[in-house]
């Protein structure tokens, strides 16, 4: 029972990091990304390979995950960030599909359909940190560091520039903001942090597989940000906790068969997203008075 709760909290923390990183893109920079699961996945595969091939040091593996994901985000950012929102979404969806195909087919890198299995237990500077309690602590530390980094960035002139781009791109440009460069940087930061979350995810599960990085997962992360509240620090966390606790709560509802819990969860957050956008687009934690 304790292990179950610890695992749930660990997952909530990991998704909290992922959702917070998506918030950098969506909430602060106004970049509408529905491909975040792919960058989460890139971090997972990169970190896992590092653990399998070199050493399962969680810090080093996370850094590899961050760098790989951040650099590869340029693949989407460079072509697609200069174009209008609708085009960017289309390109993003395209990347999501292509990414999944690559994940399933690139056997040497990703283990193909079967994925990468047998990821060794996490260590830190030689010490084993893979016990559920310790691992949760590691993840919490990662979460806190991510939040601090995000807060510092968003309160700096960089963050203000991003928000000005989000609110009015043409005006931001007329005040000297280099929009494509700033958006690219924002994307790199957001995807790098997602990469860290992905690596933690891989260690937690001890295996990585394409099923965890589908379009549905990208939408789930978006739902966490949107439902919790965009552009705030606490919003994505609230969203992550809410959406992860939801399946656990649903197991106690009598008439839902266990195999359908995922489906019901989807129905709930899908409907919530739609309803919230009508009545409170700023989400649960968002500031009220959005006109």
């Amino acid at each position: 029972m304790i292990n179950y709760i610890l695992n749930l909290l660990t997952l909530a923390t990991i998704y909290g990091i992922a959702a917070s990183s998506l918030n950098v893109l969506v909430g602060y920079a106004g970049i509408f990304s529905i491909t975040h699961a792919i960058f989460f996945g890139i971090g997972a595969y990169a970190g896992a390979q590092f653990a399998l091939l070199v050493v399962p040091d969680i810090f080093l593996a996370s850094m590899i995950g961050a760098v790989t994901s951040g650099v590869l985000s340029l693949l989407l950012a460079l072509p697609a960030l200069r174009v209008r929102g609708e085009y960017f979404v289309a390109a993003g969806l395209g990347l999501q599909m292509v990414g999944m195909t690559i994940f399933s087919e690139a056997h040497t890198l990703t283990g193909g359909h079967g994925g990468l299995v047998g990821i060794p237990a996490a260590t830190l500077a030689g010490f084993d940190v893979s016990t559920p309690g310790l691992f949760l602590v590691i993840c919490l530390v990662a979460l806190i560091i991510s939040l601090v980094v995000i807060r510092l960035l968003m309160r700096s002139s960089f963050g203000r520039a991003l928000m000005s781009i989000r609110d009015n791109e043409s005006a931001a440009e007329s005040f000297g903001k280099n929009v494509p460069v700033l958006k690219t940087l924002a994307m790199a930061v957001g995807c790098a942090i997602a990469g860290v979350a992905g690596t933690l995810f891989a260690f937690n599960l001890a295996f990585v597989n394409v099923e965890s990085f589908t379009l549905e997962q990208s939408i789930l992360m978006l739902a966490m940000v949107v439902i919790g509240g965009v552009g705030t620090l606490s919003g994505p966390l609230i969203g992550a906790i809410f959406l992860l606790l939801l399946p656990a709560v649903l197991t106690f509802v009598p008439f839902i068969p266990p195999t359908e819990i995922g489906t019901v969860q989807q129905f709930i957050y899908g409907s919530l997203m739609a309803v919230l956008m009508i009545f409170k687009p700023s989400g649960i934690a968002g500031k009220t008075g959005d006109k």
Binding site: R160, S164, A172, E173, S174, G176, K177, G231
Partner: protein
């Protein structure tokens, strides 16, 4: 004869077959307010867009302090000292009034700004000064989207003030303001020109034009028909007729 800060020669823009701007010449001099007048669709906003780099000119030259800025990207032109406001304001809606102005003060927006703490303090002081001049100090923490109409117009002006640029392109900045606010607005512009700023103003309001403009450039269908002191322009019956839509140039 004061310095010419911005110079336009033979500026033209074609959209397919439509000539939106036809071979316009204009000089913006230090401390002078030039109003662009003319009926809707005359090409006034297009000229602004051509100067700021939002549109690429079909032909012609735009020179800033002696250097050509044709083909430069809008954000670079902003760094060079041209500040521009929009008819639909385009405020940073979800940011506070203070941040709206602060953002304008930080053209190069990297994480580390040069000058450390001292420069940061100066920037904050500049923001406060801009807010005070425009009467928005008490609203510093309010979100732009929550402001009243008049307050938004002044915020748009505060952003321009903050940039410290010497060339202002203002697109109907005072439209819709009541008499008191308009007077306040005009005074702020006058103070700026006294310090050497050149303002190019798109205006429809005759009062504002007569109060503020040192020169009026009259445009119709992309061509500059006349440029002179307001008294002469406003006395010309043909221009008045065009302005109020009774005839078109060339008829």
């Amino acid at each position: 004869m004061s310095n010419v800060l911005l110079s336009i020669r033979g500026l033209s823009k074609n959209f397919g077959g439509l000539a939106a701007v036809q071979s316009v010449d204009m000089d913006l001099q230090e401390g002078i307010v030039t109003a662009l007048a003319g009926p809707n669709g005359a090409g006034k906003t297009t000229i602004f867009n051509l100067i700021t780099g939002n549109l690429v000119a079909s032909s012609g030259a735009v020179t800033l302090n002696g250097k050509s800025i044709i083909g430069m990207k809008p954000h670079r032109i902003a760094h060079r000292g041209i500040a521009r406001s929009f008819q639909d304001l385009r405020l940073f809606t979800h940011m506070s009034v203070r941040d709206n102005v602060l953002v304008a003060l930080e053209p190069k927006s990297w994480f580390w700004q040069p000058g450390g703490k001292a420069a940061w303090k100066k920037r904050l002081e500049d923001v406060d000064r801009a807010l005070e001049t425009t009467g928005l100090s008490k609203l510093a923490e309010k979100r732009a989207v929550d402001l009243s109409y008049a307050e938004t117009k002044f915020l748009s002006l505060a952003r321009i003030l903050a940039t410290g640029s010497k060339i202002w392109l203002l697109d109907e900045p005072a439209s819709g303001l009541d008499l008191n606010s308009r007077t306040r607005f005009v005074n702020i512009l006058r103070q700026a020109t006294a310090q050497g700023v050149t303002i190019c103003l798109i205006e429809h309001n005759l009062d504002v034009m007569t109060q503020l403009a040192d020169r009026i450039a009259f445009l119709d269908q992309g061509k500059k028909l006349a440029e002179d002191v307001p008294a002469n322009i406003l006395r010309d019956p043909e221009l008045i007729a065009i302005y109020f839509g009774k005839s078109q140039s060339g008829h």
